[in-house]
Symmetry: none
Subunit: 198 residues, 2 copies
Amino acid sequence: MNASSAAALYVLLVDDDHDVLAANARFLRVSGLDVVVADCATVAVERLKEGPVDAIVTDLVMPGQNGIEFARRARELQPFVPVLFFSGYASVPDVVSAMRLGAVDFLEKPVEPEHLLTRLLALADGPVGAAHTRGAFDLSEAMPFRARVLAYERHLIETSLAQHQGRIADVLKALKINRRTLNEKMARLGIRRDHAID
Amino acid sequence: MNASSAAALYVLLVDDDHDVLAANARFLRVSGLDVVVADCATVAVERLKEGPVDAIVTDLVMPGQNGIEFARRARELQPFVPVLFFSGYASVPDVVSAMRLGAVDFLEKPVEPEHLLTRLLALADGPVGAAHTRGAFDLSEAMPFRARVLAYERHLIETSLAQHQGRIADVLKALKINRRTLNEKMARLGIRRDHAID
DNA sequence: GTCTGGTCGGCAAAATCTTGCCGATTAAGC
DNA sequence: GCTTAATCGGCAAGATTTTGCCGACCAGAC
C-alpha cells in the first residue's frame, strides 16, 4: 500500500539497454521501491531462483531469450508474480501472448519512469492479477450475487450442452443432475438447445 | 436457432462496415457456422438480450459505443461468452484493456476470414484462453453441477469478503444479498471471515 | 402401422432456501 | 457502567426449487 514504510515493493527490472535500465532503476529507487536489475533473461532467472520478488518488469524484445519466453520461465519459478511488459515494437499478437501469459500490464517504450511507477504502485493496492487470476467472473461489484450465480449456472449448462452436442441425456450424466431439474433450469434461464445434431 | 444441420457455433459478428460485415458473415456461414450480425453495439446488445451466443466477434472501433464498452456490456448479459476483438488501429493500451476484459483473442484488420474461422473453431474444442478467461471454475467435468455452483458461491463470497477486509456490512451491499442469507450461506459453506487487520 | 429411445411439461408432495423479527454478544466509546 | 455499531443465530412463515410419476410428442427402426 504505502511505498514509504518497510513494506516497499521489491521489483525485478529486466532490460538489455543498460542506460535505460540504470535510469529506471534509479528513479524507482528514489521513489522508495527496492529494485534489483538484470540485463538479460538468464541473469533475471538466476535472480528469481534466489527468492521471491513482488513484481517483474521486463522488456519484451531482448537478445537471447525474449520477454515472453522469460515470463513463461518466471511463472514456473514464481507462479503468481505480476509481470509487466514494455516494448517499443510490440505487435498486437505479442501483446495478446503476453496478456494470455498473465501479464498484468503492457507499457510502450519509451517508458516514462513516472508512468511505470504509477503502474507498479497500482499493483500494490488493487487486487493484483485479479483480472486473469480470477477470470472474467467477478467483474467488479456490478452484478448482485443472485444474478452472478444464475449466470454461472447458465454457463455450466450451456457449456455442457455444447460439449455433448445438445444431448440432454449426456448432460444429465455429466452434471449429475436430475432431468426434471435441468429442464426447469433451462426454462427459467431461457436456455434453448440450439446445438443440434452433428 | 438453425437447429437443422450441425452443432454449429453460433457467432455474433459486430462491425460497422457493412461490406466487411457481409463478406465475413458469408464466409463464416458457408464454413458452417451460424452467424448473426449487428452493425453497431446497440443492435448487438439487443441481440444478446434475446439469447446466448457461442462467441462474439467485434470491431474495436465503431461509431457510438466502442468495442471495449460493448464487451463490458456484453459480459453483463452473458458473463462467459468468449469475445474476440479485431481492429486496424489497435494501440497497445487497447489490446491490454481488451484482454483484461477477458478477450480471448485479438485480430488485426484486415481480418482474413480463414484466420477468423480458425480462431473461432479453436474456441470450439479446446477452450483456448480458458485458463484465465474463465477461471478455475469450469475445469473438468468431474464435479457435479450442484457442487460447482456451490464452489462458485463460495468463491464469490470469499472474494467479496477479502475485497472488503471482512466487513460483512460492505459485502452485503456489494453483493446485494440479505444479511440472513449471507450468514446462512457462510455457515453452510463453512466460510469463516479470517481476514483480519492489514 | 407399431415400437423404442430421447425429450418435454403438468402436477403436487417434499425438500430447501430466504428473510423478517427478536434477543444475545462483543468491541469500542463516552 | 451505559450506549452504539456490527454481527450472530434461533425460529417460523413464505417463497422457491427439486423430483417422482405420468402421459404426450417426434423421429427413426422394424
